[in-house]
């Protein structure tokens, strides 16, 4: 530190050493004196905009070289941005300080936080990198054996002689690996091949060789093994290894889920490198590009560049992209997908060869791909983070099976209930047949009410009908007399039509819901006995909405094939000379002609009069004329209509408008079912209701449909989770006692560690799992991940991670000071309670709720434009008209993103005034000069909004020749290379802007993973990370320390990020997690009881799971036995 710096620190009596020019690592020592504790205010620090910064002791440990004082010039500059803050209504003095935090961190490796992370990550990846590089360096793989031995378990093959030797597991620790599964025979592996630099290996399942499994089958506890597959370790592939080992594969998480040791509670040191993830990092594509890659059409010229740089993610395409040559054959794969075990046995040699072929291909890909990856992702943290992400582990127990049972039952119960309601409504509606009352029903008038009669055939003229035998046994005299008397009636059965009509006398629409009764009666009940009435009815049918008399904004729903579901709005009361089937009188009785429609009708009448149209004008012509008028007027009318229905220029029978129901994806989409999930989620609360006040069923059916949607959409994925159950001998000693009553097992989620363009991880079940909601069956899914007894799940959500990343980039870029831009300040110091946070302020500006504002804010930061905001606004409030929504969105964008302004390039300063030009002015000026805008002007920037600085920064990064993430210098995918396009004309610019923040967030996550591993070493097992959330499995006694480690990880990670963009300090408000959850189950907050229709009693009562603990930094320090991390044995400085 400088002299001034040291003086500055003198007050807290912390010694700071000057950085040494040598390369040796420097250890800094910070011993807070007793004085520090006594005088708290010496720990307090704030910056130029009165944002509270981390306590002095922390700053001294994290930014040892930087001073904490400001020059005159800086103070002067601060005045300017303080004024700007004030202009946006921010009072920097409005905050209250939070307590200082005192921690003794383990000494940083290297001179500063940046070197520290580099160093610890290098150390973490070192053993794996060595193994990986050996595989890459091996240009020629050992020779494949000519013949594969059909032996259960692993066999090793001598590279020279090809001799097969049974082995317990591969002998080398670095392998390339591929597993095959016979899909029809279950999820467990049937064979696998692996190659190391020394030799080939093949594993064959005992199931295939028909060997008995070594361990006798034990009846599972509490698990319905009959109904659902039940996997145990014995069916999986052993890899062994207590030392660091490496497995490379394409989409390797699929293979990992079939490796035995991965299911044990203790982590093995095996790590996985996924060539698919490496490929996505280097050449990943946007969803648009993926669609293009999949399409069979000839590509457009502008797509050729990126098409040459990318491919779909499957092995064949990836291999073609990097290695070229003969395309890989995927033919044999079909046997694994569709064939039986017997077929696999028969074609064993060719199938193993196919499997080995994939291993070879993976090796070739790795050789080409890894150097590209290493160059584009230079920081060791990136690889370290990806390796860690690949070890996800979700512990479950018998409650998993119970959850599935309960969810299924709750689902069935509710579907029965909904069906029952609909059936009742259908029965009730039948009565409308009397006197054709249905003609006056607003919903059912256009159903098919035709009735079929049961007619007997003509009596044969000559022949007598044969006599039907009737039982006479046990009948008394009178009974016999009557039976004989009416024998002639029974005989006429022969005259019944051979195909009996179903329910003669009932309307056609009802008959379609019923099933044919069995021809006669038998005592024994078959699988599903016949029941009378409307049994084939469900909420998925069009009829359901009609039976429930559903209304939108109090207008009756109506279905048209071309437009989907919509509703009828009357505009004419007299039917004049036109005839209609619509019960217009009833419609008018229910809903008066709205003002906008009245004007239409009146206007039309006036026009008719003026034109003096003769009555005999051809109907057709008049209709055409009529429709033309509508389109002329449509704009006008649309403005007057205040609802959320969608105009589709459709008039029915000259008395009603048909308006489409709004669809979440926009006005061009049709609503296929108003009882579907998406529709109910977005709209039901406001406008959908039953038009029949006596129909309580409608509200209930809507409610049920909403409850069922989650389970219906996720059921297959959840049921398909491969749970591997552990026998007690595979459990740690303490757990074995519990295992007599409860089964323990684990799920290895199929994480693609870098699954998207932004390198975010992807997983189809767990990463999209929503939080538990009171009205969603099965939405307690995540809480069914449960730590075994003696363990805890520790984790936290990064508080507004993306918002902070975006705002800190803006702060650093604009003023080099935390919180110096309005967005930055709101993110750091704004509070929900006094309405000074970003969401509250947007809410105020636009006049919407804070929750809605939050969605809009994130949408904007993710790169969504004004139009998207309009759509969102209308979704939130269907009564908002398009015009109002537009006005609100405009207002919001002006306040936040600001205005786009252009500055002249220097060479034009002589010609024109150097000031901010609007895009209109800029374009006009360029047009006058006959040049492009970018020739005359610099890249435009945003000005005047709270977020202008941030967007300028993001655009600056995104428009670079080679965009890199600001934290770890990770490059953008090759598929989005700019190819020298001018700044703002770049095709994928919005994606690239979005990428900066999202990919920055991935860097953030990788940094956290590395930091946690450094702080906890082998004492924590990584469970899962969803976006900004991180969870670890730790032993009970380690839990408080793990919680503190989480807090420290946040501190270190944010410090690193700030440091990387030139800010050598960190605000207190983001230094620590607001809370770290120490819990036994996976849930958003440790107090969530996860009550759902399938878990009606909640976790506490229903499952006996108590709430967890939520620890702030101060509590975490206390629980962890103090804030001196250097005392943690595994972190003792002596080890470094």
């Amino acid at each position: 530190a400088t002299k001034a710096g040291r003086e500055h620190y003198a007050s807290s009596s912390i010694k700071v050493y000057r950085k040494l020019p040598s390369k040796t690592k420097v250890r800094t020592e910070h011993v807070p004196s007793a004085q520090t504790k006594a005088a708290q205010n010496v720990e307090y620090a704030e910056n130029l905009v009165k944002v509270q910064m981390i306590s002095q002791n922390l700053h001294a440990q994290l930014f040892p070289q930087s001073k904490r004082e400001y020059s005159e010039a800086e103070h002067l500059a601060a005045k300017a941005y303080n004024a700007e803050l004030l202009r946006h209504g921010i009072d920097v003095t409005s905050t209250s300080p939070i307590p200082d935090v005192e921690l003794k961190l383990p000494p940083l490796r290297g001179r500063n936080i940046e070197e520290h992370f580099h160093s610890i990550a290098e150390e973490q990846v070192a053993p794996y990198k060595t193994l990986l590089q050996a595989l890459i360096a091996c240009k020629e793989l050992p020779a494949k054996p000519k013949r594969w031995a059909f032996h259960a378990g692993w066999t090793a093959y001598d590279p020279v002689s090809g001799t097969a030797t049974p082995v317990a597991q591969p002998l080398e620790t670095g392998i390339i690996f591929d597993v095959e599964v016979c899909v029809r025979a279950g999820n467990d592996p049937v064979m696998a091949t692996a190659v190391s630099t020394k030799r080939w290996y093949c594993w064959v399942s005992p199931k295939l060789t028909k060997h008995r499994l070594t361990v006798p089958h034990v009846e599972p506890i509490d698990v319905d093994s009959n109904e659902r597959p039940h996997y145990t370790l014995d069916e999986l592939i052993p890899l062994g290894h207590k030392e660091p080992s490496l497995v490379v594969g394409h989409n390797v998480s699929y293979d990992r889920a079939r490796i035995r040791e991965q299911y044990l509670i203790e982590d093995t040191k095996t790590r996985f490198v996924d060539t698919m993830s490496l490929h996505i990092c280097v050449s990943g594509v946007t969803s648009y590009q993926r669609a293009m890659l999949k399409s069979k059409k000839d590509p457009a010229v502008e797509d050729l560049d990126w098409l040459a740089q990318s491919s779909l993610n499957n092995l064949v395409d990836v291999h073609r992209l990097y290695c070229g040559g003969e395309p890989l054959s995927k033919e044999p794969r079909n046997i694994f997908v569709e064939g039986t075990l017997e077929q696999v046995r028969q074609q064993f040699q060719s199938l193993v060869n196919y499997c080995a072929g994939d291993v070879e291909a993976t090796h070739r890909i790795l050789g080409k791909l890894y150097p590209l990856y290493a160059e584009r992702f230079p920081h060791p943290v990136t690889l370290a983070g990806m390796l860690e992400m690949g070890t996800a582990y979700l512990p479950v127990n018998s409650n998993w099976e119970r959850y599935i049972r309960d969810a299924q039952l709750a689902y069935e119960d509710l579907s029965i209930e909904a069906k029952y309601h609909l059936g009742r409504r259908a029965e009730e509606a039948c009565a409308l047949l009397h006197d054709e009352k249905y003609r006056k029903n607003l919903w059912l008038w256009d159903e098919d009410w035709s009735v079929q009669a049961l007619k007997l055939k003509q009596m044969p003229k000559r022949k007598q009908l044969s006599t039907v035998q009737l039982p006479e046994q046990g009948l008394d005299v009178e009974q016999l007399r009557l039976q004989r008397k009416f024998q002639y009636l029974y005989n006429q059965r022969a005259l019944l039509p051979s195909r009996r009509p179903l329910l003669p006398g009932y309307p056609q629409w009802y008959r379609k819901l019923c099933r044919k009764p069995p021809p006669d009666y038998t005592e024994d009940v078959n699988e599903e006995p016949w029941t009378p009435g409307a049994c084939d009815i469900s909420t998925g049918m069009q009829l359901a909405a009609k039976l429930l008399s559903l209304c939108w904004e109090s207008y009756p729903l109506h279905y048209l094939r071309e437009h989907g579901w919509g509703f009828l709005v009357p505009f004419r009361s007299s039917q004049s000379n036109r005839s209609t089937n619509i019960p217009i009188e009833q419609l008018l009785g229910r809903c008066a002609i709205p003002e906008f429609a009245r004007q239409f009708a009146v206007g039309e009448a006036v026009d008719l009069a003026m034109d003096q149209l003769p009555k005999q004008v051809d109907e057709h012509l008049s209709k055409r004329h009529f429709y033309k008028k509508i389109s002329q007027r449509q704009l006008n009318l649309e403005k007057q209509y205040k609802g959320s229905g969608v105009w589709c220029n459709h008039v029915i029978d000259d008395c009603c408008f048909f308006l489409k129901l709004p669809h979440k994806n926009g006005p061009s989409f049709r609503v296929g079912n108003p009882l579907s999930k998406d529709f109910l989620n977005k709209f039901s609360e406001h406008a959908l209701s039953s038009g029949d006040p006596s129909c309580q069923a409608a509200a209930r059916v809507i409610e049920i449909a909403r409850m069922m949607s989650y389970w219906r959409n996720n059921r297959d994925r959840i049921l398909g989770q491969m749970v591997v159950w552990l026998h007690s001998e595979h459990l740690p000693g303490d757990l074995q006692a519990h295992a007599q009553r409860t089964s323990y097992g684990a799920i290895l989620p199929q994480v693609v560690v870098a699954g998207t363009l932004t390198r975010r991880a992807m997983e189809s079940t767990w990463m999209t799992a929503s939080n538990s909601r009171a009205n969603r069956i099965g939405s307690e899914l995540r809480s069914m991940v449960q730590a075994p007894p003696g363990y805890k799940l520790v984790g936290a959500d990064v508080d507004s991670q993306e918002l902070w990343i975006a705002s800190v980039l803006g702060d650093a870029y604009a003023h080099g000071e935390h919180g110096a831009t309005p967005l930055g300040w709101m993110t750091l110091s704004g509070s929900k309670s006094n309405g000074s946070d970003m969401h509250s302020i947007t809410a105020k500006v636009v006049g919407i709720s804070r929750d809605h504002a939050k969605v809009l804010n994130y949408a904007r930061i993710y790169g969504a434009g004004q139009q998207f905001a309009e759509t969102l606004l209308q979704q939130f409030n269907p009564t908002l008209s398009a015009t109002e929504a537009k006005a609100k969105a405009m207002k919001m964008f002006a306040a936040t993103k600001g205005k786009r302004v252009y500055r002249l390039r220097e060479e034009f300063h002589d010609e024109q005034e150097d000031k901010a030009y609007s895009s209109y002015e800029a374009r006009r000026f360029a047009l006058q000069r006959n040049r492009s805008v970018s020739e005359i002007f610099h890249r435009p920037s945003w000005q005047g909004g709270t977020e202008s600085a941030m967007f300028n920064r993001l655009e600056e990064i995104a428009t670079r020749e080679q965009p890199e993430t600001p934290f770890l210098n990770c490059r953008l995918s090759r598929a989005l290379d700019s190819n020298g396009e001018a700044d703002l004309e770049q095709r994928f610019l919005p994606t690239r802007i979005n990428w900066v923040v999202q990919s920055g967030a991935v860097d953030f996550l990788h940094l956290m993973l590395v930091s946690m591993r450094w702080l906890l070493g082998p004492h924590a097992r990584f469970c899962l990370s969803f976006h900004d959330e991180l969870r670890y499995l730790v032993k009970d006694e380690m839990a408080p320390k793990a919680a503190l480690a989480m807090h420290v990880t946040n501190l270190l990670t944010r410090s690193f990020c700030a440091s990387r963009i030139g800010l050598k300090d960190l605000p207190m408000s983001v230094a620590f997690f607001s809370s770290v959850e120490v819990d036994t189950v996976l849930r958003k907050e440790c107090t969530m009881d996860c009550q759902t229709p399938s878990n009606p009693h909640g976790l506490q009562i229903g499952y006996g799971i108590p709430p967890g603990q939520s620890l702030g930094i101060q509590e975490a320090i206390v629980k962890a036995g103090g804030g001196d991390l250097t005392k943690w044995p595994w972190l003792k400085p002596s080890q470094n």
């Binding site: 009565a431 009636l489 003669p504 009666y521 209930r700």
Partner: protein
């Protein structure tokens, strides 16, 4: 008192209650039915205390001695008992005494809660199936009850909107006295002895029947029908004939009605005692059908002189749809038996 009227079942209602009782007996068929028991021991009706009663111990012994093959965990016992109603809050007061239908489940102790929830669910569905409005039934936790450790209690209640609720079934999860070895049962899977947890279901037959009858009226339809479930309805089918002319009494039609009545009775379908009625004109028939609707008779067979006497076609009129379908006399009684099959 005036707020909660006293209600007594008359003959039709009693017949209905009997049906309900029969269906209760058939539900959960693995049960050991210990039949009707009369006892003055009030402890044995206490919500959680019953496990300490002499009678409970006695019944448990009966299970071990008389039904050793079923004396495994899990198992269940059924008994019927006459006594005083346990309910204090209800929208009506039933006539005393009432019949208690009691089912005791003996389940593995560590899965007690899970079983308890399953039983709740099953029971709720059972009530829903008999209802004109399945959403009427709710599981209501008895939070205010003082519960011994490990005990839980819920009521299944039928809600009648603003009028209030009627409890139709009470379910309690109770722990057996730990010190007692008398109550040990072998585990059905492992055979190891264990002290089971008890889940007791109590249905008070008469109040529950009243609730179901009320439920049949409370349907919001225009028609004044009593929507009794067709398998529980005391009278499943009615038979009515309509004469061609008001004056001339048709003997043939009368005979045909008698014959059809006989056919249905022989098939063990439940009909009214008077069997059938003959209407002299359409108005009379309409009135008669309205009466059937109000009695909750789900189906009526309509016979006439023009059709039925000539070709055997008759009308099967449904209370719920108010429509009639045409069936042939030879379809009887199988078609009706299928309709009334208890699934």
């Amino acid at each position: 008192d005036a707020l909660s009227p006293h209600i007594e079942l008359l003959s039709h209602g009693s017949a209905y209650a009997q049906q309900l009782q029969q269906h209760w007996l058939h539900m959960r068929p693995l049960a050991v039915n210990l039949g009707s028991i009369s006892s003055t021991d009030t402890l044995c009706l206490s919500r959680f205390g019953f496990v300490h009663s002499q009678l409970f111990r006695q019944l448990f012994r009966q299970l071990l001695e008389l039904h050793p093959s079923k004396a495994k965990c899990p198992t269940l016992l059924k008994q019927q008992r006459t006594g005083v109603t346990q309910q204090s809050q209800s929208i009506f007061q039933p006539a005393q005494p009432v019949t208690h239908l009691i089912t005791d489940f003996f389940v593995e102790p560590h899965r007690g809660l899970e079983h308890f929830y399953n039983v709740q669910r099953e029971s709720k569905i059972w009530w829903m199936r008999y209802s004109s409005n399945p959403s009427r039934y709710a599981i209501v936790p008895q939070a205010e009850l003082e519960k011994p450790a490990g005990c839980q209690a819920i009521d299944i209640r039928a809600s009648f909107g603003p009028a209030g609720d009627v409890t139709v079934e009470q379910l309690s999860l109770v722990q057996l006295p730990a010190e007692s070895e008398d109550f040990q049962l072998p585990d059905a899977r492992t055979g190891g002895p264990q002290l089971p947890a008890v889940i007791r279901s109590v249905i008070e037959l008469e109040p529950a029947s009243c609730a179901l009858l009320l439920d049949g009226c409370d349907h919001g339809r225009e028609a004044r029908s009593l929507l009794l479930n067709r398998v529980l309805a005391p009278y499943q089918c009615a038979i009515a004939g309509i004469q061609k002319t008001e004056q001339i009494r048709s003997v043939d039609l009368q005979d045909l009605c008698a014959h059809v009545t006989d056919v249905l009775l022989r098939a063990k379908l439940r009909l009214q005692q008077e069997g059938y009625m003959l209407a002299a004109n359409a108005k009379q028939l309409t009135q008669q059908i309205e009466t059937y609707d109000r009695l909750g008779v789900p189906y009526a067979l309509l016979l006439d002189e023009q059709q039925t006497l000539i070709n055997g076609l008759l009308q099967l009129r449904s209370r719920d749809t108010q429509l009639a379908e045409t069936v042939h006399i030879s379809d009887l009684p199988d078609y009706l038996l299928n309709i009334f099959r208890d699934y």
